[in-house]
């Protein structure tokens, strides 16, 4: 089978975010909270359209990386803005930057 040419592939965006709160959270807690927040806002089908994925979270720096398509970036951003608590503790997600490659996003987490 002939592979898709790059022009037909969805362009991905990697969202580097930071969790701001009075306490530190684990990877699973943040993953659950972020996924539920995005799912509540754009729905399961929207998440599939956005090719949403939780890539990684650094518990020490409280920074993580998400992936979505460039067309759904604004919706994912809005969904993250509506997140107001993680495991009943007040917190918010601050989007530090958006990159086009995972390598650049990973470098900025470190």
């Amino acid at each position: 089978m002939k592979p898709y040419p790059p022009t037909l592939k969805e362009k991905k965006r990697y969202v580097l975010f930071e969790v701001v709160s009075g306490r530190k959270f684990g990877k699973e807690q943040v993953k659950r909270a972020v996924t539920i927040a995005v799912s509540e806002s754009i729905g399961t089908i929207g998440m599939a359209d956005a090719e949403f994925a939780f890539i990684d979270f650094d518990e020490k720096a409280q920074k993580g990386i998400l992936r979505c398509t460039n067309t759904k970036l604004e919706q994912v951003r809005a969904a993250l803005a509506l997140l107001s608590e993680i495991d009943l503790y007040k917190a918010f997600v601050y989007i530090r930057t958006v990159t086009g490659s995972l390598k650049k996003a990973t470098l900025r987490v470190i």
Binding site: V20, S21, E40, E74, Q75, R77, A78, K90, F92, I95
Partner: protein, 181 residues
């Protein structure tokens, strides 16, 4: 470079924190806020930006007609309490229409879709009637604040274009502050 403003916060700590998030200015002391139950309860403070929270259709009409009101905040809730007539009066009297992020966050799961639908309808009317829109955080504490681009993304959620959303957190607040001088 574009300068971003958050026009309504309820905690002094938010002013410094807002600057760390990238705002040019966060308004706390310069703002007066009231939540009237009826037209008689509308309070106006001289020398400050008067934000008045909306309610029923009649109350919204009374608010935009009241002299000294600068912003009609959250005119819609679970019902569509904003129509083209109110929009036209607001434009004629130079009253801005405000959307607060706090209102969306405080409205939980079963009621949020209805609120967002009503906000979309509000944004559509504001576009049609050429009303000036503001997006504010309305934060009561620092954890309720959001970065400027995140606040602008709320505009995308209610059907504004990216440029209109950015305009409502940068140029419109600036125009509002100039009106105060």
């Amino acid at each position: 470079m574009r300068e971003f403003y958050d026009c309504l916060v309820f905690d002094g700590k938010c002013v410094d924190f807002g600057k760390r998030l990238g705002y040019h200015r966060v308004l706390f002391d310069e703002v007066s806020y009231c939540e009237p139950k009826s037209a008689k309860d509308i309070k106006i403070t001289r020398g400050k930006l008067n934000f008045v929270r909306g309610g029923s259709l009649e109350l919204n009409q009374a608010i935009v007609r009241k002299k000294g009101v600068h912003v009609l905040l959250d005119p819609v809730g679970q019902k569509k309490e904003f129509d083209t007539a109110v929009g036209q009066i607001a434009r004629d009297y130079g009253v801005f229409i405000g959307i607060s992020l706090r209102n969306i966050i405080d409205t939980k799961r079963p009621y949020r879709p209805r609120l967002l639908a009503n906000l979309s309808s509000l944004a559509e009317i504001c576009k049609k009637m050429k009303n000036d829109l503001l997006i504010v955080s309305g934060a009561r504490e620092v954890y309720e604040m959001r970065a400027p681009m995140d606040l602008a993304s709320i505009g995308a959620l209610v059907g504004l274009t990216h440029a209109q959303s950015l305009w409502s957190i940068s140029e419109n607040p600036r125009a509002l502050l100039e009106a105060l001088k």
